[in-house]
Symmetry: C2
Subunit: 171 residues, 2 copies
């Protein structure tokens, strides 16, 4: 699929068909994720790929009871390894590590579209609960849940503030 088509047709998908996501498609999504840029190429990301029903249900609860999280065939919990970004200090932990994982997530969402899948980036969740569910070391911080599956909805495009209104040109 063309890059711009993927960017333009991506939607947040919250209703999924029950069909499983083939393992090779999950692999392609993760291969795209790790090609994102990162501070000093530190690649401080970790991915928990959850297909286990009970774990998904616990994650949905930790995500303020957003039930679609449990209904998604795959939930990828994206974590940042705070230890890995130590060379960049506070700015590394509080900015770079969040940015590089977000770039990885955007690659994942676009690649999901190109694979005929839908996905939703979930930011509203209790980090402490997710850490407990996955038994994360204290150096790993969960920064997003990404629900992935075959879409069972076709949400319209949400409007955008035009480029002209959010850009300033200094020539």
């Amino acid at each position: 699929m063309e890059l711009f088509e993927a960017i333009q047709t991506r939607r947040s998908i919250r209703t999924f068909r029950e069909d499983e996501v083939p393992r090779n498609k999950v692999k392609i999504i993760l291969e795209s994720a790790i090609l994102a840029p990162s501070e000093g190429n530190l690649q401080s990301w970790r991915f928990y790929v959850v297909t286990n029903k009970e774990v998904k249900e616990e994650l949905a609860k930790a995500a303020l009871d957003q039930k679609f999280v449990a209904q998604a065939p795959v939930v990828i919990v994206v974590c940042t390894n705070l230890q890995a970004v130590t060379p960049y200090g506070k700015r590394g932990r509080e900015l770079y590590a969040l940015q590089s994982t977000a770039a990885a997530i955007e690659n994942m969402l676009l690649t999901a579209v190109s694979q005929g899948l839908g996905a939703c980036w979930v930011g509203a969740f209790r980090e402490d609960k997710v850490a407990r569910i996955l038994n994360l070391k204290t150096t790993l911080r969960p920064v997003a849940l990404v629900a992935v599956g075959y879409s069972a909805e076709e949400p319209p495009s949400r409007g955008r503030i035009p480029v002209e209104a959010v850009s300033v040109f200094l020539e």
Copy 2:
């Protein structure tokens, strides 16, 4: 260009030809940026598109004297509007706003590749200095500089930690 080709061939470009970047290519890059997902579709991004030589030189100094920033034909300063994310409180300011702008930046980098351009995401800069140079309101926080132009180098791929080493499968 195919999505995966863009993801795979993207590099951080720090040496540019002197050729100007056509305005329509800058426009396409910004159109891609604003299609990124954002918390509650708040779109808390602002873009300062700098082609002015003196301003680029000041930005390069604020970026810890990374001279290639001044040599890039275009420098896009990506800011987040902290006021816009007020509905999400601290988590909005310190997580969501950084993630959505980072997703927008990844769209920009991939689109630059598809337009035959090169780009570099610059995170190391003094935010207070950039704010002064651009005369930013206190509600705008600069989160990245993106240098864009026609590449004059062909950097090899930097290695990646394989997917297997950064992923855990819970089935």
